[in-house]
């Protein structure tokens, strides 16, 4: 098949298993975001794809060919590092031309390609500047251009935007995504920022403790998380213990949720309800009754913290649907059946 395949890849450092039996298929031209908390093995996995780290077992296959025994410098890929790793002794043009120079491309062709890439990253005319004279965003673009100079089949980025300030980061996310779509290149980005993943990815791979917890399109990850770890990591959510009563109905905080049934063969679990899906009403109308403990009005959204049966539930509303609750008010909580996801505990 055309694309990248990771076949049962593991990486052990002594007794510690950094990456545990990862299996993943990435079709050609897909934008993948590997997402997870620090230490989950996502960077190690990326480094194994690049050949900077050797897998303890398993294979990396690109377009049907086994990459595992190929040394890094013969893999013909492009990689952007967290530190960017621009060469300080070379100017912008020389940095971008480096992979071409290594491959013995003649000077004229080098120059032409560098000009093309500088135009692509909107830095035409910057070729003769020293790298140290560029701003953070410009350096970022130079690192991307250098990685793409040989038009690689695989484009890898390790936390590429983490050094930029929030505004610039959001702009670069959009730019990177547009660039990837324009070039149709298979791209893998490692990040711990879920907004970044949601913005850019076709496929989000959530990793935890060395394993893939879920690999799916962003909205599916958000709407249908595979387990409590994923639900908690992607966005914010309310995780509540759920039990089956005698009739197989799901009960949360001691009350049955109308219309919600436990999956067959399951007695216990956790439900995940996104804060924007939690409705607050008059105390008598809710599934569960509680008391407002804190209201955080952020202008664009309002977060209401409600305590019910010893648990804190967060509801998010917009000012337009202002419910007007303040701390101390008794409220009723409605958990809409269609927005509750039952997960393994």
């Amino acid at each position: 098949m055309s694309g990248l395949e990771l076949q049962d890849i593991s990486k052990r450092f002594g007794n510690f298993t950094a990456v545990d039996n990862v299996r993943l298929s990435v079709p050609h031209g897909t934008f993948v975001c590997m997402l997870g908390p620090s230490g989950c093995g996502k960077t190690t996995l990326l480094r194994m794809i690049a050949g900077l780290e050797e897998p303890s077992s398993g294979r990396v296959v690109l377009d049907g060919g086994d990459l595992t025994p190929v040394p890094t410098h013969k893999r013909n890929l492009g990689m952007v590092f967290q530190s960017l790793a621009l060469f300080p002794h070379l100017n912008v043009g020389e940095n971008i031309a480096y992979p071409l120079r290594i491959r013995g491309v003649d000077r004229g062709a080098q120059k032409k390609r560098v000009d093309e890439l500088l135009a692509m990253i909107h830095l035409t005319g910057y070729g003769d500047r020293p790298v140290s004279k560029l701003s953070g965003g410009q350096r970022q673009r130079v690192a991307i251009a250098r990685a793409l100079a040989i038009s690689p089949k695989l484009f890898l980025l390790d936390e590429p935007l983490s050094a930029l300030d929030a505004k610039l980061r959001e702009a670069m996310q959009v730019e990177l995504r547009q660039l990837q779509q324009q070039l149709g290149i298979t791209t893998i980005v490692v990040t711990h920022d879920q907004r970044e993943a949601m913005t850019m990815a076709d496929l989000v791979v959530v990793m935890g403790e060395g394993r893939i917890r879920q690999a799916a399109p962003p909205i599916e990850i958000y709407r249908r998380p595979a387990d409590a770890f994923v639900a908690d990591f992607i966005g914010s959510t309310n995780l509540l213990d759920v039990e089956a009563d005698g009739a197989g109905r799901a009960t949360v905080l001691g009350r049955a949720v109308p219309g919600l049934e436990m999956p067959s063969g399951k007695n216990k679990g956790v439900i995940s309800v996104r804060p924007e899906d939690v409705h607050l009403t008059a105390p008598a109308e809710g599934t569960v009754a509680g008391k407002v403990t804190f209201v955080r009005d952020l202008g664009g959204t309002i977060e209401t913290f409600v305590e019910a049966e010893g648990k804190t539930i967060v509801a998010v509303t917009t000012p337009r649907e202002r419910t007007g609750f303040s701390a101390g008010d008794p409220v009723g909580i409605v958990l809409p059946r269609e927005n509750c996801v039952v997960l393994d505990a």
Partner: protein
Amino acid sequence: MRREPPRTIADYAPLVFPALMLIVFFVIPFSTMIAVSFFQRDQAGFYTPTFTLDNYERFLSAFFGGVLGFSIMLAVLVAVVCVAVAFPFTYLLARSSRRVQTVWLVAILSVLSLSEVIIGFAWSTLFSRTAGITNLLVAVGLMSEPQALLPGFGAVLTGMVYQALPYTILVLYPALVRLDPTLLEAARTLGASPARAFLNVVVPALRNTIVATLIMVFVFALGSYLLPQLLGRPQHWTLSVLITDQAIYQSNMPFAAAMAVFLVLMSLALVGLTLMIGGRREASA
């Protein structure tokens, strides 16, 4: 860091002590030496203060010119060999685990505690026919009979490199530890083999450090006068040996001073030239 320039005389106060020390222990002795180099030697005693260029004239002979040339060549060679050996070694050391680094650094520092005399005699034993390393080669079967490897140029060079190597490593170490390891990885992902990446990226990124280290070892080796005598033949003696000989054994202070002044000028000129070439390359880059 930007600081306000000093305004009043009191602001210069912290400089008084270092300036005084420099004057007393450097400027005055050095000026005395320059002055003595123009004095006349007195056969009976020490020297008589006059102004003569005889000492410099005598120095400008083929013999002393040859010794000066040899001294500079030897010092350059020691510097180049030291950096060529120490740079890859220190690079690997900086990439290894903390424990390995500590063990090596302690071992290297312990070499610094050896005096030039001990180093000289240790190597003269190691290079001797009766107790030297060639006996090991014979035992292994690589040589048919033990040989004396000294006196000779190779022995002088080995001894001096051995002496200067710890300094070289200690000067290179901080710069190599600070070097961003992803620079090398980036070069590899861009298509450079590990050896090529090292030459393309690590060496140019540390060019200034390398030049500074070369100069330091060069100056250090230029002053060596014991090892060439212990391990070499008279034709391997450096200018420092001759200066010692003139000053101490021949009691010809003015001539020794003239040679010393000349040596300092030559080293300054070489260091200046190196910096100038380095600076020009930087400007063009």
